[in-house]
């Protein structure tokens, strides 16, 4: 009988720098992997390559001047970032927003959410080498961007929301184009389901990979679709409605496994719900002004506010401290990607390199928001 002590049979661990230039890190992010063969033993996040000091910049800009910066945080869901910021300032100042603007905000925010989820499903398919599945979401996302461009002139960095309303009313032709888009959206989702969701290889690579249970997910501060994929129907739009979300009828899709596959599927399900909200908002869209009467120079009275909205990637929070001047004394942005990425070492350890790529795609980070 061959007697080999276990200590004699060991393999040398190697450290592998994945990034900052790597196709699957979704931007300039570096993961320092400790590998045993191909198995990932330890993950260390190294971030900050895109740090622009936006929180510091905010202290030197007026409240209105800061709006464009927000769209550069999560640049895949600019409208949602705009929304969170202007609502935080409005909460601080007690500004009431006209009805029409509220509805437009909902439409734009949900479109932004759909666009962000589209990027996620597309790039996750691509990270598994499912090249063809990359195209349907991007094709449809283009139409969302066209709608944004139609309204505010920008596609990504929208800066559409204003403190007290929105920058511009929607042009003629917007609603029919939106209607057409919403009619085609289920087709795209079905296309994705046919192309990739039901694919056996895709399932085999995602199911059970990067699994996290609900309790751990909460402890690690996971929010948004990543948390709902663990089975908790927690969505701020329902749990603590901001804006006029309490007027809409929609469901919170949940899945229970908390693995990469569920995190992928839940995005597809959420797109459908967002479409439902948009349809209701379109039907109820009132006439009227899109901008409240706000003073030219905004000087909120001293105080502080923490406003959270349900961003595309999780709970997006703005902590705003005012000292009574026309510039924020302190602005802190709680980016969901930042915290979700913090949970990655826990989520991804134990799989191999390919599983790591799946895990990082499934938590859906955007480095603009991680590094701020």
């Amino acid at each position: 009988m061959l007697a080999v002590a276990k200590e004699d049979l060991y393999t040398q661990e190697i450290e592998l720098n994945m990034g900052p230039q790597h196709p699957s890190t979704h931007g300039v992010y570096r993961a320092l992997l400790t590998l045993d063969g191909e198995k990932v033993i330890k993950v260390e996040n190294i971030i900050g390559y895109l740090h622009r000091g936006i929180e510091k910049l905010a202290e030197d800009r007026t409240y209105t001047q800061f709006i464009p910066y927000t769209a550069r945080l999560d640049y895949l869901a600019g409208m949602l970032n705009n929304l969170g910021y202007v609502q935080a300032v409005e909460k601080l100042m007690g500004v009431a927003v006209p009805e029409r603007a509220e509805y437009l905000r909902i439409i734009m925010a949900e479109l932004s959410r759909i666009a962000s989820h589209m990027i996620m499903v597309a790039s996750m398919a691509l990270d598994l080498s499912g090249w063809t599945a990359w195209f349907p979401p991007f094709r449809e996302r283009e139409r969302i961007l066209d709608l944004f461009e139609m309204t505010c002139g920008s596609r990504i960095t929208v800066s559409y929301m204003r403190i007290g309303g929105v920058a511009a009313d929607i042009p003629d032709g917007f609603l029919p184009a939106l209607e057409a888009f919403l009619n085609d959206l289920p087709g795209m989702i079905a296309e994705m389901n046919g192309l990739i969701t039901g694919n056996e290889i895709f399932k085999a690579r995602c199911q059970g990979v990067g699994k996290i249970d609900l309790e751990t997910a909460l402890a690690y501060g996971l929010t948004g679709p990543n948390l709902r994929a663990c089975g908790l129907p927690f969505d701020l739009r329902k749990a603590k409605p901001y804006g006029i979300y309490d007027r809409f009828d929609f469901d919170i899709p949940t899945l229970s496994n908390g693995d990469s596959y569920d995190r992928f599927v839940i995005r597809l399900l959420e797109m459908e719900q967002s479409a439902r909200i948009i349809r209701q908002a379109m039907a109820a869209l009132p006439d009227g002004s899109v901008m409240a009467k706000v003073p030219r120079v905004l000087k909120p009275s001293p105080g502080e506010v923490y406003h959270q909205i349900e961003g595309a990637k999780g709970i997006l929070g703005y902590y705003l401290v005012s000292d009574g001047s026309n510039k924020p004394y302190r602005l802190h942005i709680h980016g969901p990607s930042f915290v979700n990425l913090g949970a990655l070492p826990r989520i991804a350890a134990g799989g191999n390199i390919q599983d790591f790529v799946v895990a990082i795609a499934s938590i859906d980070i955007v480095l603009g928001e991680v590094d701020r």
Partner: protein
């Protein structure tokens, strides 16, 4: 929110030195630094504030009470009740116990606060710079921080 004043009352009984802040959009507590861990444990395990929503800090260099305030936002999931907890720290030696033992979510956020504001979190497993480069000096979000470019230009 009627029951928040009850909550604050009860907590004040438990933790002498605790101050309540009502009014505003969110109830808040101000707690002495040495009671923070115990208070957070109480809030998490007995009061249902099981989710650490945010950790940040604000620098107040001026006035007679120069200080750094570390601000914690908690949330009860799934009820979505929010609570703010603040700790005032000595601006020269800001030091506070880390909450990573209660919430692993605190790890990255406390690193960020350390990096940008210079607050030392004792007991943190890996308190290093996270957004700025490792060889960066200074803590950019402090009010008296001078960016290098401005220094050179002056």
């Amino acid at each position: 929110m009627g029951n928040t004043s009850d909550l604050i009352q009860k907590l004040q009984d438990l933790f002498p030195g605790l101050k309540g802040e009502e009014g505003g959009a969110m109830p808040g507590l101000v707690v002495p630094a040495d009671r923070l861990t115990a208070l957070m444990q109480e809030l998490k395990e007995q009061r249902g504030f099981n989710f650490l929503a945010d950790v940040t800090a604000v620098d107040y260099p001026e006035g007679d009470k120069e200080r750094i305030e570390v601000v914690y936002h908690l949330m009860a999931v799934p009820a979505a009740t929010e609570l703010r907890v603040k700790v005032s720290l000595d601006r020269q030696h800001p030091e506070i116990a880390s909450l990573t033992g209660l919430w692993p979510a605190a790890e990255v956020q406390e690193r960020e606060v350390y990096d940008l504001m210079g607050v030392i979190f004792t007991g943190h497993p890996n308190l290093q710079r996270i957004l700025c480069p490792d060889d960066f000096s200074g803590h950019p979000l402090r009010k008296d921080f001078q960016p290098a470019a401005t220094e050179g230009g002056q």
